[in-house]
């Protein structure tokens, strides 16, 4: 089962410059573990460890499954199927504060 993951410019150092890579997983969480196995270091750029030992998506990283922001579809527990299209995009944000 292969799911295409679109990698943003800033994270292509982990994918040997590839703009998109294939990964597998029944959930987004499992898919990120699979990404990490093949592209070590990428997981830490996507997830933030919380105090209770669990992780969550970083506040300024957006992940979309078939064009839906996963924050609205169950976050890391979002279910995935073969052929899904995943896009990772860092937020474009900033400001005086």
């Amino acid at each position: 089962m292969a799911i295409e993951v679109r990698i943003p410019t800033i994270l292509r150092t982990y994918t040997g410059g590839e703009k998109a890579v294939d990964a597998t997983g029944a959930t987004l969480s499992a898919l990120i573990d699979d990404l990490e196995a093949n592209h070590p270091g990428i997981k830490e750029r996507l997830l933030d460890a919380k105090e209770d030992g669990t992780s969550d998506l970083r506040r300024f990283v957006n992940v979309y499954v078939n064009d839906e922001d996963v924050r609205f579809t169950g976050g890391l527990e979002t279910a995935l199927s073969d052929g899904d299209q995943i896009v990772v995009l860092p937020a474009v944000a900033g400001g005086r504060a």
Partner: protein
């Protein structure tokens, strides 16, 4: 150096003045690898704040998909500071994730929504290091202007 045509420069300044006192934000897309900012795309500041800006996540995806379809990239990423100088804040630096882009800051602190000059400056922000660069505004942007 950032080279920008007058019409795009004026459009960015107008956007910043219009949204003052909130921060305005947007991009200027251009052909991949060209370093030519040709297509101004004003974005909505989803934070709607005088001290923070963030592209709406749905609009962000739509914008990037459009750029991929057109073989474009964000050549310029701009936002305004409405009470402080046009220099990247610690937040701006921490969240700068497009190493190939020119980060433009416009300060509307002096004249707000009114007529009058603004501070318009451009930076490279790579791995947390800020390097200011000259801004050259030309009548018409052509590839030959680059050399």
């Amino acid at each position: 150096m950032l080279r920008l045509d007058q019409a795009t420069y004026d459009a960015i300044v107008a956007h910043a003045k219009q949204d003052h006192p909130d921060e305005a934000c947007g991009i200027v897309a251009g052909a991949e690898g060209s370093d030519l900012p040709t297509r101004h795309v004003p974005m909505i500041n989803a934070a709607g704040s005088p001290t923070f800006y963030e592209f709406d996540s749905t609009e962000l995806l739509a914008l990037y998909k459009e750029m991929w379809d057109r073989d474009e990239e964000p050549v310029v990423i701009y936002h305004s500071h409405t009470a402080t100088e046009a220099y990247p804040s610690r937040t701006d630096i921490g969240l700068a994730n497009e190493p190939g882009a020119h980060y433009v800051l416009v300060s509307t602190a002096e004249h707000g929504n009114s007529e009058g000059p603004v501070e318009f400056r451009s930076y490279r922000i790579i791995d947390g290091v800020v390097t200011e660069e000259d801004v050259s505004v030309v009548d018409v942007l052509t590839a030959t202007e680059l050399h």
